[in-house]
Structure formats: structure tokens, C-alpha cells
């Protein structure tokens, strides 16, 4: 009984040949380790590789810098890009103004959006407001839509003569020009983004509210707290983690969003970081764009860090178990109907009205003339007519759009399949290897894309794949790069789905098979995949939806050869072909709604519940 614990394990010789084969053989029999190493290697190339690549590119002279510094040697170390962005004469336009605009937009939208979302969540979960089912379904629609649909609708309504071309409905009906601050820039950007991104706050907060036990509040009442004290001392601290996630999620999305600030900001040269990165890349100053993308990432990380400091990284609240509690509905009394009408009006304005405006837009024959007489289906099904829209055919006959449609679906399906598989494999390696350094690294790297704002990730991918990189060819302009970046951006979500799915499969189910002589591939095929399929399928369909509506992430990587529907809409809008952009947008929305219906059918209505994990 007195055997020494620490030193009794005499180490075998390290470099003998049998020892080496032993280690190789051992590794072969630990599939989760091999898998973990493979996943980690692939993810490192796809996630960390690009990051180091743009840090490198931002710190050395590039060939395009020779225009400014003819004496420079391409590839040698320089602070030139940093100086240009942070201290040079251009710094104010390149860095300070976009920084100020991004932060201002981000803060305003986050406050407004999370506020609206939380208020809506409280009304829907805790009060006796009417029509909860319909409202609940409508309130999450913005999550499925491209974020810039509202911006397109806004332009159709409030466009003025500032940038020429046709004017909006307000001018057409009332003959007045909306002032610039209404038509473009800060104000409409904040409104449009807030009316879209409130969905994140709503989803997260309604999930959290639904798990707070009313009894806790009642216990406070018995302890002599008044209504306000109960709210501040009990309910609010319990909701804090969800609120924190909502704030972080919204803010990072806003930092990386491109569509809305581009549509509403670029005409009046109102730049945010995302549009400035786009402009710098278009002006072939990639170095500036890379520096700006890095600043964005640093901002996002700082923000996550502050949030985790304030709220506490692992603050867990035992009451959030969803077990054995009841909820009391707060009676709104005389306010029941006014509240119901207000919510109905809000949802009509944010969800249905934009669709109607775009539908109307797509049906008018002359841009800017919104009379019921001039309605036409030409932009949907018409053949090329030289008198209308410079001969651009309706979307049903436009080869460009049909190609983009095919690309969009292809992108959605490929990304979904790759994400589903990768998520499952990452989940498997992370769960079976729990507690090892490898598993921790793997989970960390899979989560990393979360902190890259979409546009910054796009910039990173340009930096990395514009030239051959290691064994990979130059992927810029190919379809592959769109799939790659979509898979990577969705990885934090799908790897969590995968981890959750594998956690549900007890280790012993696999070990039993192992002992019976069933090898790894057959275990995957016969046990792991069938048992995790429902969760993974839901995750895949959600990836499909996010992939088809994506613009910010891929706008920098699109080219005529790999065009997708969102890119087509953006370019129609740039060319002031509003009927086409309206029609294509509605078409895209129909595809997304169809996919969502499929998700709901396959997951028994629980499709969107999975979103709360993001």
C-alpha cells in the first residue's frame, strides 16, 4: 500500500523503432485524435492562416504601393500602410470618420435594436397581449431576410434628387423632396438596421425571459420589494447574460454589415468601416483595407472582452434550467389592445410594408412613376425590349439572373453540406476528446470566425487567396472561395450544433460497437450519423438560409463569373435599375421563406429555436 505514486511509472525508451510504431499504431486507434488534428489543420489554414496573411500584407510593401513610394522594395517591411491610415493626411477620411460613423451607427443601432427586441420579447412572453402566435412568427422574419431589404424599400420611398436618376414614392405622390438627412446617411442607416437587427435581441431575450421563474419575483415581493426593485434586483440580473449576448451579437453584426451602409451611405459619401474597406479595395489600396479590417477585428475582440468582463464569462444562473417552474402572465388591462395594435403596426411596417413597396417597385414600368396605370409584369417575365431599361430582360428571361440563381442555390447547398459534415466532425473530435488540449484548441479555432466581422473576413480572404497560397491555387474570383468563406463564417454555429448533437450520444453506445469489433467508419455510418442526423439537418438548412441571403461576407469576392443573387441586386441598384432589384429581392425572399418552411417541417416547428444558440 505504500507504492509511490509519481515516480513508479518508469518511462520506456523514447527513440526505439518499436516505440515509434507503437505510437503510430496507438494514434491510428484513437480516431478522435486523428480527426481532431485534421480538423485543426484545415481550420487553421482557413481561419488563422488568412489572419496572419493580412497582418503580413499590411506590414510589407505591395506592388501597388510603388505608385506612392517608387523607391520601395516590394515585400520589405514597412509601416507605410499603418502611417497612411492612422497618421497620414488621409487618416481623417480613411480612418477617423469611418471609425466615428461605425461606432455611432453601431451604438445607436444596438441600443435601439436590443431595446425594441427586449420590449417586444417582454410583451410576447410575459403579458397577455393578443395574437402571440402570429406576432411571434412575424417577429423573426427579419432574421431570415437579407438585412438590406429595408434599405432598398427606404430608397424606394424616400429617394430624392440628390444623386439624379428617378425619385422615390414620397416625391412622386406629394411633390416634395425629402431632405438629405432623411434620404441618405446616418439617420436612415440607423433606422433600417435597427428595424432589422432587433430580431437578435428578440430571439435571445424571449428565450431568456421564458426561463425566468415568476416565483423568484414573487419571493422578492414577499421580501418587501416593490415592482421596480424586483425588476432591477431580480429579473434584470437573471437576464443579463442573454442581454450581453444580444448586445455583442448585434454590435459585431453591425460592424461587419455592408449592404445597408452602402445603399444608403455611399451616395452621400457617408463611410463606415465596411464601406471604406470596400472603397479602398476598389481603389486598389488593399493595404489600407487590410489595416482597416484588422482594426475592425480588434474592435470586435475588445467589445467581446469588455462584455465578458462586465457580465462574467461563465456566470451561470441555476434558475435557467427550464424545469419545474411556472410563469404568471402580467395582465395589461386597458393597455391590452393598444399594445396589441402597436405591435401589429410595428410588424406591418418592418416586415410586410417593405415587401409591398418592393413589389410595387418591381411592377412600375417607368422608374419613379408610381401610378396604378403603369403597372407591368415586364420585369418579372418580360423578354428583352430595347425601350425598357436599356433592353435588360425580366428576371425570368435574364441569363445573368438565372445563372446567379443557380449559383445562389449551389452556394447554399454546398455550404450547408460542407458545414453539416465539418460541424459533425468537429463536434465529434471536440466531444470525444473533451479535456485534452487538442479539443480545446479545436473548439477555439472553430469559434474564431465569430469575432471576425463579415466584411473583414471577406477582406482577409482576398488577401490570402488572390495569389496561390501553399498547396492552394489562387482562388480569388472562383466559386470555391465563396463556398469556403461561407463555410468558415457559419462554422461557429454549425460546430456548436455538432457538439450538441454528439453530446446527446452517450460514449458507451460507441464503445459497445467498438468492443464488438466495429471499426470507426462503420461506427460513424451506423451509429453516430443516424443518431445525430436531425440536429445536423436543422443546422444545415439554417446554413442554407444564411448563405443565400449573404452579401456583406462575399461582396468583396464576387466577380461576374461567380455572381449570386444578392450581388445581382446590389449591382442593379448601383445602376439605378430599381424594378429589377425589387423583383430579384422578392424572388430571393421567396426562396428563403421556402427553405425556412422546409426547416420547420423537418424539425417539427423547432427550426428557429436553434438560432438562439448562435
Amino acid at each position: 500500500m505504500s507504492l509511490d505514486t509519481a515516480s513508479s511509472g518508469s518511462k520506456p525508451p523514447v527513440l526505439s523503432r518499436s516505440n515509434l510504431s507503437y505510437h503510430v499504431y496507438r494514434l491510428v486507434n484513437q480516431p478522435e485524435k486523428i480527426l481532431g488534428l485534421l480538423c485543426l489543420a484545415v481550420l487553421s489554414v482557413l481561419v488563422l492562416g488568412p489572419l496572419f496573411e493580412i497582418i503580413h500584407d499590411a506590414l510589407v510593401y505591395q506592388s501597388y504601393d510603388l505608385a506612392y513610394r517608387p523607391e520601395a522594395k516590394v515585400g520589405s517591411f514597412t509601416l507605410f500602410h499603418l502611417e497612411r491610415v492612422f497618421t497620414g493626411p488621409l487618416s481623417k477620411a480613411l480612418f477617423l470618420k469611418p471609425l466615428f460613423n461605425s461606432v455611432a451607427v453601431g451604438v445607436c443601432v444596438t441600443v435601439l435594436g436590443v431595446g425594441i427586441g427586449s420590449g417586444l420579447a417582454w410583451l410576447m412572453v410575459r403579458t397577455n397581449i393578443r395574437f402571440k402566435g402570429v406576432f411571434g412568427a412575424l417577429a423573426v422574419v427579419p432574421y431570415m431576410m437579407p438585412s438590406w431589404v429595408l434599405a432598398l424599400a427606404w430608397l424606394s420611398l424616400f429617394k430624392n434628387d440628390r444623386i439624379g436618376g428617378n425619385e422615390g414614392m414620397i416625391t412622386s405622390f406629394f411633390g416634395v423632396q425629402p431632405p438629405d438627412w432623411v434620404s441618405y446617411g446616418f439617420f436612415p442607416i440607423v433606422i433600417c438596421l435597427a428595424l432589422h437587427y432587433y430580431a437578435y435581441g428578440f430571439l435571445l431575450m424571449s428565450g431568456a425571459l421564458a426561463t425566468v421563474d415568476s416565483e423568484l419575483e414573487e419571493a422578492g415581493a414577499i421580501a418587501g420589494m416593490n415592482r421596480r426593485q424586483r425588476l432591477w434586483r431580480i429579473t434584470f440580473p437573471l437576464l443579463l447574460p442573454a442581454l450581453g449576448s444580444a448586445v455583442v451579437l448585434t454590435f459585431i453584426r453591425i460592424l461587419g454589415t455592408f449592404g445597408t451602409p452602402a445603399l444608403l451611405g455611399l451616395p452621400v459619401r457617408f463611410f463606415t468601416f465596411s464601406t471604406q474597406i470596400y472603397a479602398s479595395l476598389n481603389a486598389r489600396n488593399s493595404g489600407d483595407a487590410f489595416v482597416l479590417a484588422l482594426v475592425l477585428i480588434v474592435m470586435a475582440i475588445t467589445f467581446i472582452w469588455i462584455n465578458s468582463r462586465v457580465i462574467g464569462i461563465r456566470k451561470s444562473f441555476v434558475t435557467l434550467t427550464g424545469k419545474g417552474f411556472r410563469q404568471r402572465e402580467i395582465k395589461l388591462g386597458a393597455w391590452q389592445w393598444p399594445a396589441t395594435i402597436a405591435v401589429a403596426a410595428f410588424l406591418v411596417v418592418t416586415v410586410l410594408l417593405p415587401m409591398l413597396i418592393l413589389l410595387w417597385e418591381s411592377l412600375v414600368i417607368t422608374p419613379g412613376e408610381y401610378s396604378l396605370k403603369g403597372l407591368t409584369a415586364h420585369f418579372w417575365i418580360g423578354k428583352s425590349d430595347i425601350d425598357i431599361a436599356n433592353g435588360e430582360p425580366g428576371i425570368w428571361h435574364s441569363p445573368g439572373i438565372l445563372t446567379a440563381l443557380w449559383n445562389t442555390i449551389k452556394l447554399g447547398v454546398l455550404a450547408a453540406v460542407c458545414n453539416g459534415m465539418l460541424g459533425l466532425l468537429v463536434g465529434y473530435a471536440a466531444v470525444r476528446g473533451r479535456g485534452t488540449l487538442l479539443a480545446r484548441w479545436l473548439e477555439g479555432v472553430a469559434f474564431a470566425p465569430y469575432i471576425f466581422p463579415s466584411i473583414a473576413l471577406g477582406a482577409i480572404y482576398i488577401g490570402m487567396f488572390s495569389t496561390p497560397w501553399g498547396p492552394l491555387p489562387a482562388l480569388y474570383g472562383t466559386f470555391t472561395i465563396l463556398v469556403l468563406i461561407t463555410v468558415v463564417k457559419n462554422l461557429p454555429f454549425t460546430s456548436r450544433t455538432g457538439i450538441a448533437a454528439i453530446l446527446q450520444i452517450d460514449k458507451s453506445l460507441e464503445e459497445t460497437a467498438r468492443v464488438q469489433g466495429i471499426g470507426w467508419f462503420r461506427r460513424m455510418a451506423k451509429i453516430i450519423i443516424p443518431m445525430s442526423s436531425s440536429g445536423v439537418t436543422a443546422g444545415m438548412l439554417l446554413t442554407f438560409i444564411t448563405a443565400t441571403r449573404e452579401l456583406s461576407l462575399i461582396i468583396l469576392l464576387l466577380s461576374p463569373a461567380n455572381m449570386v443573387l444578392t450581388g445581382v441586386i446590389f449591382s442593379y441598384n448601383e445602376h439605378d435599375m430599381t424594378q429589377h432589384s425589387g423583383a430579384v429581392t422578392l424572388f430571393l425572399v421567396m426562396i428563403i421563406v421556402g427553405a425556412n418552411v422546409l426547416v420547420r417541417m423537418l424539425t417539427g416547428g423547432g427550426g428557429l429555436a436553434g438560432l438562439r444558440h448562435t
Partner: protein
């Protein structure tokens, strides 16, 4: 029938040592139970034998076959060890019928369709589950699931069977029934069996050999009789037996010509002569080895009844004398009033003596 032979096995998880040092031989065809409290390393030992955990040191052999040796660089993966294994939670695949649950592994072995069907039938017959062949596990009760898991293990016809607390998810009555069934199966199958449990009744009723473990070390290995009546140390003495064993600490001395263990206010008569340099030791006795009388008897110890717990077939009595509380077990349903006087007598032959410091059984009296 194969022998299992473990030497110098050591396994830890990070800083936590699960198995410190283990030498164990399971005779061909024997039913060996590893018994111990949770965290003692018993499940780890089983998983090491199965190959689901890799020890840091030591050697494993099945018969002549070297299965694992860290020193010689040999490791046979669990897939190739030809074992039958059953888990506490049964580990039935929920998306497969009973039939598929059993045949999946058989198909892997490359058996013909005929042989597979024959083994399936035989295994299901053995556990009387033939009629449930096409059900899914969720459509079966806990006991039936247990039988399917058994059938799956039987169908593999492995010469080594490993069982990890297979009965602990069942309710008390079903557990007793399945215990009998396991014993019958073991006799039929003649496979070398390693059974892990924290339930001493299972260990005592089923096993040829019981291994008691604590904190990653073997505390005692022996037949159920040896474990129960001659515990090697105080840990085993305390761990085995329900109600628990009685302990008395004192010095052996002579008093008025009689020799006994002087425990302060309790005098426990023992045979023989006191040793020259008498020191403290611990004496233990099982509750059923103390005789009880309701009438005063000469030389018997008078005690007071403190609590009484009739279990039906027998009754647990808690009695007191001075500072000592003593547990007694008597057959039958006894009804008495608290506070009643009782007279007790210790069966001297049933006493075990232990060293106070090391806790090991002195195995002899008087101690040297």
C-alpha cells in the same frame, strides 16, 4: 475459456490517479467481481481490460496472447480483443430494433446469414426475449432492455465477458431476479467474467472471487467467504456487511484473572494470554455474531435497547453500554420496547483483530 492476467497496471487522468498499481489474475472460467465505493478505480480497471482506456504502465495478457504492454510497445485495440461487454446504461442503439442491435456486431465478424440467425435465436432464447425481436429499445421496459443487452453480449460468444454495474439501473425486485439469471448464464456460458459493482450483495452472491478496491489499490482479493469473515484490513471490514461491522478499540490485558480487550467502559473477553508489550488494537465483530438474550445471564453483558428496525426476515437492534453503541442482527421479526434491558454475548471465534495504525488484519491472536 481464457485467463486474464494484469500486471503492474497504472492509469491516471491528468493528476487524478484512478488505478495506482494493480496485479490481477482471473482464472479461466471464473466469475471475478471488482467491488468498491465510487471512484475506487473499479470501472477504470474494466475499461483498461476492454481497451477503452490505455494504462500508463503494466501488461495485459489474455491466455497466451499479449494484449497490452507499454514496455514492449504492444497494444491491441478494443476492436480486436474479442470481448463481450455490458454497460450500466445497457448502451442499446436506440435507432435499431432488438434484432439489429444483436446482429450488427455479428455481421462485422463475417458470419454467414444462417449462422447469424442461429446465434440471434439462441441468444434471444437464452434471455427469453424472442417475442420482442422487432421492437425498438424505447418500446421495452428497463428489465427487458437489460435482457437485450445480455443477449447482445451472449451472441458474440466471446470467451471473456466484462460487465460494468449491469444491474444498478433496475429496481430492487428485478435486480434480485436478474442476479439469479446472471449466475445461471455464467454457468451455461463458461466464459471468464469480470464483473464491476458497488453492491456487496451482488459481489457476494455471484462471485467465485471478489476483489475489493479503494483509491486505486486492491484492498483484498479472496472468496466471498474470506472477504466477509476474514477481512484483510479495516477498510474491507467496514465496507462489507449491511448493517455494518462493530469496532472496538482497546488494549488486551488481564483483569481479575480473565483476559480481555479493555475498551475503557467496555470489557470484551478474549481467549489466550495478553502479549508482553500490550498495545492498542481494533477488534471487529459482525452484528449477527453477537448472541442476545432478554433474560439476565451470567457473564453476559447488560445493554440497553436504543433503536429497533425490523426488516421482516430479520431485525436490526441498536444497543448501548456506556459510550459504546453496538449493532446486533437477529433473525425474525422482533418486537420490543426501547429502553428495555438486554444481555449480549460475543462469539469469540468471529472476532478479527487489526493493527490500529496500519489497519491490517493481525491474522492471529494473541498478536505477537
Amino acid at each position: 475459456m481464457e485467463e486474464i492476467h494484469l500486471t503492474g497496471i497504472r492509469k491516471s487522468y491528468g493528476k487524478e490517479v484512478a488505478v495506482r498499481h494493480l496485479d490481477l489474475t482471473v482464472e479461466p472460467g471464473a466469475f471475478l467481481t471488482i467491488l468498491g465505493p465510487s471512484g475506487c478505480g473499479k470501472t477504470t480497471t474494466l475499461r483498461v481490460i476492454a481497451g477503452l482506456e490505455e494504462p500508463e504502465a503494466g501488461e495485459i495478457r489474455f491466455g497466451d496472447r499479449l494484449i497490452f504492454s507499454r514496455q514492449k510497445g504492444v497494444i491491441v485495440p478494443p476492436e480486436n480483443r474479442n470481448l463481450g461487454l455490458i454497460f450500466q446504461g445497457y448502451a442499446l442503439w436506440p435507432h435499431m430494433t432488438v434484432e439489429r442491435n444483436i446482429t450488427l456486431g455479428l455481421k462485422q465478424m463475417g458470419l454467414s446469414a444462417g449462422e447469424t440467425a442461429e446465434r440471434l435465436d439462441a441468444a434471444l432464447d437464452k434471455v427469453q426475449m424472442k417475442v420482442y425481436q422487432h421492437r425498438y429499445p424505447s418500446e421495452l421496459s428497463g428489465g427487458q432492455q437489460q435482457r437485450v443487452a445480455l443477449a447482445r453480449m451472449i451472441a458474440s460468444r466471446s470467451s471473456i465477458l466484462l460487465m460494468d454495474e449491469p444491474l444498478s439501473n433496475l429496481d430492487a425486485k428485478l435486480r434480485t431476479e436478474m442476479r439469479g439469471e446472471l449466475k445461471r448464464l455464467h454457468r451455461d456460458l463458461e466464459a471468464t467474467t469480470v464483473y464491476v459493482t458497488h453492491d456487496q450483495i451482488e459481489a457476494l452472491t455471484l462471485s467465485d472471487i471478489v476483489v475489493v478496491m479503494d483509491k486505486g489499490l486492491v484492498m483484498q482479493q479472496g472468496t466471498p467467504y474470506e472477504i466477509y469473515h476474514h477481512p484483510a484490513n479495516l477498510f474491507v471490514a467496514d465496507f462489507i456487511g449491511d448493517p455494518g461491522i462493530n469496532r472496538f478499540t482497546g488494549t488486551v490485558s488481564r483483569n481479575n484473572g480473565a483476559v480481555g480487550l479493555d475498551c475503557g467502559d467496555l470489557w470484551l473477553p478474549v481467549p489466550g494470554d495478553p502479549p508482553a508489550n500490550a498495545k492498542d488494537l481494533v477488534a471487529t465483530i459482525r452484528p449477527e455474531s453477537i448472541n442476545v438474550s432478554t433474560e439476565a445471564r451470567e457473564d453476559w453483558l447488560k445493554v440497553t435497547l436504543e433503536s429497533i428496525q425490523p426488516k421482516g426476515s430479520d431485525t436490526i437492534l441498536q444497543v448501548r453500554t456506556g459510550n459504546h453503541s453496538i449493532t446486533l442482527l437477529q433473525p425474525g421479526f422482533i418486537r420490543m420496547d426501547l429502553g428495555d434491558p438486554l444481555w449480549i454475548d460475543f462469539e469469540t471465534a468471529a472476532l478479527n483483530f487489526f493493527d490500529v495504525e496500519s489497519g491490517t488484519n493481525l491474522n492471529q491472536y494473541p498478536p505477537a
